[in-house]
């Protein structure tokens, strides 16, 4: 089912890129989310004070909360990787919440966005593993005993591909399912505010799915950083 009316797409039609905007709404709305996040961050750090207040306060609570949560699970050596994790978390949370506003299409409702986020995180897991362990990173995939190594290697490789699939499909399925339910309820009983309870659930689901993505990314990072079995 096609989205009826999307504001940013209409805006792009006005400036002449209507064909591109209709074919790829998730790209257009990704740009919109990027602009929103950059403007919010710029507003928050315009005047940095020792005793924060207002937007700076909110952002400090958010960022330090995520950082403490991450360091609690990965240990001190995970601190340099915090910016990537926090960026992915804020981006996914904003994308998900965008779907609750009528007339906006959440970029995470397309498998392209979620697959790109999942691929980034999983490839970075391997980068971390190679950086911390060098060539001995392969021992992570070989298991505890040497005579089971070929079997364990295949199982671990499949497991790592399954991580990419599960991360992307979990996020995509949640948000697309939510958008489908909203669309159907609008068709059935839109005049009676029927989609409202689903939208309330949607706020919870949006934040929770971003948090689950964050948690799983942190667990994968710490798994690559620790010693092999």
């Amino acid at each position: 089912m096609e989205h009826p009316y999307l504001f940013v797409v209409k805006f792009f039609e006005l400036i002449g890129f209507g064909h591109f905007a209709h074919a790829y709404p998730w790209v257009i709305y990704s740009w919109f989310v990027m602009i929103v996040l950059i403007i919010l961050a710029f507003l928050a750090v315009r005047k940095i004070e020792m005793i924060p207040s207002g937007a700076q306060n909110v952002f400090e609570i958010l960022i330090s909360g995520i950082e403490e949560f991450m360091v609690e699970i990965t240990g001190e050596e995970g601190r340099p990787f915090f910016p990537l994790i926090a960026t992915v978390f804020l981006y996914i949370a904003t994308c998900n919440l965008l779907g609750l506003i009528p007339g906006f299409y959440p970029p995470t409702a397309s498998i392209n966005t979620t697959l790109s986020c999942a691929l980034t995180v999983v490839v970075f897991t391997h980068v971390i593993g190679v950086k911390f362990h060098g060539a001995k990173y392969i021992k992570h995939f070989l298991g505890p005993v040497w005579w089971l190594a070929p079997l364990i290697l295949i199982i671990e490789l499949i497991g790592h591909f399954a991580r990419i699939l599960s991360l992307s499909i979990r996020l995509f399925g949640n948000i697309t399912g939510h958008e489908l339910v909203l669309g159907i309820l609008f068709l059935l009983a839109g005049a009676f505010f029927a989609p409202l309870p689903i939208m309330a659930l949607g706020i919870f689901v949006a934040l929770l799915q971003a948090f689950v993505f964050l948690l799983l990314s942190i667990i994968y990072f710490s798994g690559a950083m620790e010693e092999a079995h």
């Binding site: 499909i169 399925g173 949640n174 697309t176 799915q209």
Partner: protein, 100 residues
């Protein structure tokens, strides 16, 4: 099954796919409900046993419920693929466009 045109066979295939999608997501939701109920029971027992750990237990329970729910979401994605993004959708649509 002689006497049936290719359009009828294609339509029956599509009907079978949609029925499978309906049953698939129903069975997945059934399993997901039981699993989340068991997890929830353990969490509530933990809180009843030790009310001070309520914060940590609740957070762990929510994370566990989200991960169990994702299994049901995988089944939902397969059901959506069967209904909307059917692998043979293009050729079946072509059948109905030409013949008929």
């Amino acid at each position: 099954m002689e006497g049936m045109t290719i359009q009828t066979q294609a339509l029956q295939f599509f009907i079978a796919c949609v029925t499978a999608a309906g049953f698939g997501i129903a069975i997945a939701a059934f399993g997901c409900g039981i699993a989340q109920g068991i997890g929830l029971r353990s969490a509530v027992e933990g809180i009843a046993r030790n009310p001070e750990s309520s914060g940590k237990v609740t957070v762990t329970m929510i994370i566990g419920l989200a991960l169990i729910e994702s299994l049901c979401i995988y089944a939902l994605v397969v059901a959506l693929i069967l209904i909307f993004a059917h692998p043979q959708a293009a050729s079946i649509a072509a059948l109905f466009a030409h013949g008929g």
